[in-house]
């Protein structure tokens, strides 16, 4: 997935001399190829993220296409106001790349973990939000971010969970849900984003459920969400490595509550910080996002749906 990211970035830069990469002194090894192929367009802006994002706005104002890289804890979280005021307010074509989102930095604690970035980004007007799940969605997301020609936040989470698609995605249309598994129509449908699509597929395999991936969180196609909600009479389950507040689950229920009322179980990070450190798998378990805990909640949701009908 990281190779897909690097390849896409290099290809975009080779095709468009206006593409610049700005990093806040992060991305060790990730940009080796970019630096080799486009050395004059690699700008290490120092450990100064706020200035870096403002500077990207200035570069975009005079015709450049900045891609701004940082850890999600810093880009967007540390720089939310610069993104809002300097970039999104004037619809400037700046792509914000937030790496390590969720619990990737599981041993480092709260400072490097990011489970509120989607919520913050979604509430900023003009800002498109992408959250790819595998290398194919990553490649498609990078091209989408470029052709959007406006402000985009591209969330890069846990990247080694394997493919969820069988092959490349031609074009990523903003807002579309991509079905990645077809299962029993009488069971709830799973909608997941980023690293949790792999988990959703594993859970669905055991229960024969349908799964949709949501690589594009804003805008989100209301028609698509309603179609999925209507197809899944037993309800929907959302899964995300992000707070249950303001992320995928919230975005889905904002649509269904108005247009296609459905029972929705939102599986995400509870409204609290991590207590302990450990492996990524450990932190998922601490927050109830591991297959065992999430599966138990899905089973209870299925049970309750059966009792209610």
């Amino acid at each position: 997935m990281r190779e897909a990211f690097s390849n896409a970035l290099v290809r975009l830069a080779l095709a468009d001399p206006k593409v610049l990469l700005l990093t806040g002194d992060h991305g060790y090894a990730l940009f080796d190829e970019f630096r080799k192929r486009c050395p004059d367009r690699y700008i290490n802006a120092g450990i100064a993220e706020q200035n870096m994002v403002g500077m990207a706005a200035g570069l975009a104002r005079v015709g450049f296409r900045p891609f701004v890289y940082g850890l999600a804890a810093f880009v967007p979280i540390r720089t939310v106001e610069q993104i809002k005021l300097d970039i999104a307010h004037d619809n400037l074509p700046v792509v914000l790349l937030g790496d390590g989102a969720g619990f990737v930095y599981s041993h480092l604690g709260t400072s490097h973990q990011s489970t509120e970035d989607i919520a913050c980004a979604r509430a900023i007007p003009n800002l498109e939000v992408l959250s790819p799940a595998d290398r194919f969605e990553m490649t498609a997301s990078m091209y989408r971010a470029y052709v959007a020609n406006g402000p985009v936040y591209l969330r890069m989470g846990k990247s080694d969970r394997g493919d969820v698609h069988a092959g490349p995605i031609d074009t990523l249309s903003p807002g579309l849900l991509i079905q990645v598994r077809t299962g029993r129509a009488d069971l709830p449908g799973l909608i997941a984003t980023g690293s949790m699509v792999r988990t959703a597929l594993d859970l669905a395999q055991q229960r024969d459920m349908s799964v949709w991936s949501a690589p594009s969180l804003k805008p989100l196609s209301a028609d698509d969400v309603c179609a999925v909600a209507r197809a899944c009479a037993a309800g929907l389950v959302t899964l995300e490595e992000h707070s249950v507040l303001g992320g995928l689950g919230a975005a889905i229920t904002e649509i269904t509550s108005e247009r296609a009322p459905a029972r929705v179980l939102r599986i995400g990070v509870p409204d609290r910080f991590s207590d302990h450190c450990g492996t990524h798998a450990y932190l998922l378990r601490e927050h109830g996002l591991d297959a065992e805990n999430a599966g138990a909640r899905i089973d209870a949701f299925i049970q309750n749906a059966a009792l209610a009908s």
């Binding site: 700008i43 802006a45 120092g46 100064a48 706020q50 200035n51 870096m52 994002v53 403002g54 500077m55 990207a56 706005a57 200035g58 570069l59 975009a60 104002r61 005079v62 015709g63 450049f64 106001e81 610069q82 005021l85 300097d86 307010h89 004037d90």
Partner: protein, 284 residues
């Protein structure tokens, strides 16, 4: 940096940007809109006067011309001074001035880049300078001779991103960028010395790698000369002009009285302020 070609044109330009008339424009806006931040605009009147009259190039008098120089008003609170210049240039008309703050009006109380002629959305302090650094970096990459001026308040220097941007500007040898500090000695709640002492600003910016000069920010000739000198010296270095100014300059009862950061005009103070400008036939 002057775009003026003929003596006749020069004379017309000299007639524009009279500081007293621009202060009257500010007062008229502030009175019409019952708004604040008058003193914040008054301290930079001569600075923007010299910039617009003698230095900023706008091909075709177009505020969005691609080849223009950039004036970034990082201290968005002084925006009425920039509106006054835009009025002198014909970019704003009298109805913009008299209709300030009417419901649905375009001109806001802080700089908003959606208005042609304003380059950044500021007022949240410490933003505009970084955007200016990015513009300067972009212009250098393009290899043009366009220049960027960023006006920041001395109170605004409390903000961290200013110093991040200063490091970056020096590191990348942005000699097309001039930071202008409106050193009026006040910020919202008191003097800069009382709130958060800034120390020796010239020494600070010099140590950051800027070519630095201090000047009386109300002496137009001195400001003009200092700007020319800064561009002419310190090759490869960004420039810093530390302009000593008086908050509320031009109306004696507003000068260095920080209440005029916040106070609105009433009919009496409006008339007194207009009178104090000493414009012929200005008495209301």
């Amino acid at each position: 940096m002057s775009s003026v070609a003929t003596p006749q044109a020069q004379a017309r330009v000299e007639q524009r940007f009279a500081p007293a008339r621009m202060r009257r424009t500010v007062l008229e806006m502030a009175y019409a809109g019952s708004t604040v931040h008058i003193a914040c605009a008054f301290s930079i009147i001569e600075l923007v006067t010299v910039l617009y009259r003698n230095h900023l190039r706008y091909p075709g008098n177009d505020p969005r011309a691609e080849g223009r120089d950039y004036l970034v008003l990082s201290k968005g609170h002084g925006v009425m001074a920039q509106y006054a210049c835009m009025h002198e240039l014909g970019w704003l008309n009298d109805s913009h001035i008299q209709g300030y703050f009417k419901d649905g009006s375009e001109l806001k109380g802080l700089s908003d880049s959606r208005v042609a002629g304003l380059e950044v959305t500021s007022g949240s302090l410490g933003h505009g300078f970084s955007v200016g650094v990015g513009i300067a970096m972009g212009l250098k990459r393009k290899g043009t001779d366009q220049t960027v001026y960023a006006i920041v308040g001395d109170g605004e220097l409390n903000e961290g991103p200013i110093w991040e941007g200063a490091l970056v500007a020096a590191h990348h040898r942005m000699d097309n960028l001039m930071l202008i500090v409106d050193k009026n000695g006040f910020q919202a709640m008191g003097t800069t010395d009382d709130v958060l002492a800034l120390g020796d600003l010239s020494a600070k910016f010099t140590s950051f790698g800027f070519e630095t000069l201090e000047v009386d920010g109300h002496d137009e000739a001195a400001v003009d000369a200092a700007i020319r000198q800064l561009w002419a010296t310190g090759e490869g270095k960004p420039k810093a002009l530390i302009a000593r100014t008086v908050k509320g300059k031009g109306v004696p009862f507003m000068e260095s009285d920080n209440r005029w950061h916040y106070t609105r005009l009433n009919p009496q103070t409006f008339a007194e302020a207009i009178d104090a400008l000493g414009l012929p036939g200005a008495s209301t």
